[in-house]
Amino acid sequence: MKAITLNRKHLCIPYAAFLILFVILPLLVVLYYAFTNATGEFTLENFISFFSNTNTIGTLFYSLALGIVTTVCCLLIAYPTAYLLARGKFKKRSVLLMLFVTPMWINFTLRITALKEILSLIEGNIAQYPFLNSVIGMTYDFLPFMILPLYTCLLKLDTSLLEAASDLGADKATVFLKVTLPLSVPGIVSGVTMVLLPSMTNYVVLDMLYNSTYIMGSLIGSYFSAYDWHNGSMIALILLVIIFLITLATNRFSDDESSSRGAIL
């Protein structure tokens, strides 16, 4: 009996080792670099310089704007799609879902290159609309990450709750607003978390679509390629804190709204 429980515990060793080696240790390294200068002394200079520099603050806001617009676009497209997929009377539901998820199987540089060609056809010189193109590119790229959690959440939704609502006098719109929407908040939250961070940092999309504006990811990249580990780490740390705060806020929101915490990734 004892041997079995020990064996079970042993199963988590690979994951724990991975976690320590590739998550916790690097985080500590980032933390160390963020609060030291080139000579290795403790300093808050990196922190101050980020918030006193209009360029970096501008980048932060540009990233936030890009991230939020992308997330909203994803949500607006993904929700109706997921709703139809989950609640519609389709016989081959899994096949349809697959159609929406298969783009993820294709290398994303290939997808963005294809998108670039399409956009050039429509817009001519695509460098003219950098923000719009970046939003389109990222929405295209991250849409499945929004659809999937929403789909699972809506699929789990108990039909008898919708019947109960209409039984109590709610018409179809009211049923949606008062029952379906509040109960799909966990799905929305988990979709938002999965889209917002990558769309604030994934500068490859911007590079490929000729958007030369820096976002948080490119900022970190540029510091690192100039061997400035300290400022780069500080920005990474700030980004981490921002994401943490957003997650915390949305988690609390969904806790208020619903008791199902499991859906949050």
């Binding site: 108990d158 008898s160 709750l161 019947e163 109960a164 109590l168 006098g169 709610a170």
Partner: protein, 498 residues
């Protein structure tokens, strides 16, 4: 006219078909009186829940009409019906607290406050008052702010009832609403529901598979099976005068035997003649139901039947004694015990014997003759004697039928009526042994044998027959019918005669 006003809901020839082969509700006619406590009772899959869902508006009838107070509501969405439902798994909104759950319907409601005014929303104070009253009614006063997930099953169901009743519906529907509760809680809630029904005076329609629950609570019980209504009556009527073997077997414990009328008010079963109250034609084959608590035990000399006790089980209030009379078993409930092996006398007064016309005397199908001169019917193919179609005919070497007159007939694809007796079918484990295959969907014990119904998968054809061996419900079996027991007649010939 008086009677017409009395009816709150009426189902006229209502059918609900899900796809070509699944008919959940089959031409149901039902009239429910205002203020009645009606229970739809039946085994799972009998169509009782679908019937309820059509009254609620969650499901629409494929054909037929549902009238509420004389108005056709068949196609009205649920939110437009003055009917509320208490769901089986409560279906409380997890994102709302107790107060908001109960107030859900009230917040959407528009009422005409003064005659001539436009319908208005209820004020906050009015809603508060109603919610409070509803909570008091279900004994959960003070629970307003509680979250749904902190409530026990019983409390959740009370909230479910309060949420429905607060809207003051004309009809309250309860879909196996006590099914998820434990036995003790269920008994309590049964009494409370009955009490609420008495106080409120509105119509309750309750769906359950629990016959005891149905008998305890209802004014009227509607027994359903296979999408059809088997019997409508008061609990006493249903129990004492079951319409058919199914109802008798489903409601309460019963001894069911096959017998025949042998004289005026004289029935023969278990090898003995008994005087009875029901009047059927002499010679008619009948089913006989005897309730175990009606069987009287006497000394062996005094009894009409003599039996040997083969088992005694203590059941709390009474003993359940099983005795063997010849080949038949009889179950007796009595407060007195006997020992296994005792020889007892058994006495049945005319009052204790309930007689029903046999529902089915033989299996009838329409089939056709195949190339191999076998007959295909009931989702299967059986060896048969095709020469019976033409008296005096015989088969030649090539498989053609030569009639008495010497005419040569190719029978392939000829449509025929097929008749198979109740005693002529047997079952086998080996799927290839019999001509058709299906699952056992019903077993009814008849004293010395069992009455079986086997249903095929493809077209849901039923084979009804008696067999002495006990199988299990849902067993997959193949059906063996001896060649000479399949009676064939030509379809066209039969029609010509009529």
């Amino acid at each position: 006219m008086e009677e017409k006003n009395d009816t709150i809901i009426e189902m006229i020839d209502v059918t609900r078909q899900f796809d070509e082969t699944t008919i959940a509700v089959d031409h149901v006619n039902l009239r429910i009186k205002k203020g009645e406590f009606v229970t739809l009772l039946g085994p799972s899959g009998c169509g009782k829940t679908t019937t309820l869902r059509m009254i609620a508006g969650f499901d629409l009838p494929t054909s037929g009409k549902i009238l509420l107070n004389g108005k056709d509501i068949s196609l009205l969405p649920p939110n437009k019906r003055p009917i509320n439902t208490v769901f089986q798994r409560y279906a409380l909104f997890p994102h709302l607290n107790v107060y908001d759950n109960i107030a859900f319907g009230l917040k959407l409601k528009r009422v005409v406050k003064k005659p001539g005014d436009k319908p208005q929303k209820l004020t906050k104070a009015e809603i508060d008052k109603k919610v409070k009253r509803a909570l008091e009614m279900v004994d959960l006063a003070g629970f307003e702010k509680r979250s749904i997930s902190t409530l026990s099953g019983g409390q959740q169901q009370r909230i479910g009832i309060a949420r429905a009743l607060v809207n003051e519906p004309e009809i309250l529907l309860l879909d196996e609403s006590l099914g998820a509760l434990d036995l003790k809680m269920r008994k309590e809630m049964q009494i409370e529901l009955k009490e609420m029904h008495r106080k409120l005076g509105i119509t309750f329609i309750y769906v359950t598979h629990d016959q005891e629950e149905a008998l305890t609570m209802s004014d009227t019980v509607v027994v359903m099976a296979d999408g059809m209504i088997q019997q409508i009556g008061t609990p006493v009527e249903i129990y004492n005068e079951p319409n058919n073997v199914f109802v008798a077997d489903f409601i309460g414990e019963s001894n069911i035997y096959s017998g025949a009328m042998v004289g005026k008010r004289l029935v023969k079963f278990c090898g003995k003649q008994f005087p009875c109250l029901d009047d059927f034609e002499v010679g008619e084959l009948v089913d006989i139901v005897v309730r175990p608590e009606d069987v009287k035990m006497t000394s062996p000399e005094q009894g009409q039947l003599r039996g040997k006790v083969i088992s005694v089980v203590f059941k709390g209030v009474h003993y359940e004694i099983t005795a063997l009379v010849g080949k038949n078993e009889i179950v007796i409930q009595n407060t007195e015990s006997r020992n296994v092996g005792d020889v007892i006398g058994i006495c049945l007064t005319p009052d204790d014997i309930h007689i029903m016309k046999k529902t089915l005397l033989s299996n009838r199908y329409i089939g056709y003759i195949t190339k191999k001169n076998t007959v295909a019917f009931g989702d299967g193919e059986f060896e048969c004697d095709v020469t019976q179609l033409y008296p005096g005919s015989f088969l030649d070497e090539e498989g053609y039928l030569i009639t008495k007159e010497g005419k040569r007939i190719d029978l392939t694809d000829t449509d025929v009526n097929v008749e198979v007796g109740l005693h002529d079918i047997s079952m086998s484990d080996n799927p290839d042994e019999g001509g058709a295959r299906g699952h056992i969907i019903s077993i009814i014990y008849k004293g010395d044998h069992y009455a079986y119904i086997v249903r095929t998968e493809e077209n849901e054809e039923d084979f009804v027959f008696d067999c002495e061996d006990l199988w299990n419900e849902n067993d997959y079996v193949s059906l063996v019918i001896p060649k000479d027991k399949i009676k064939l007649s030509l379809v066209s010939a039969g029609e010509d005669e009529e």
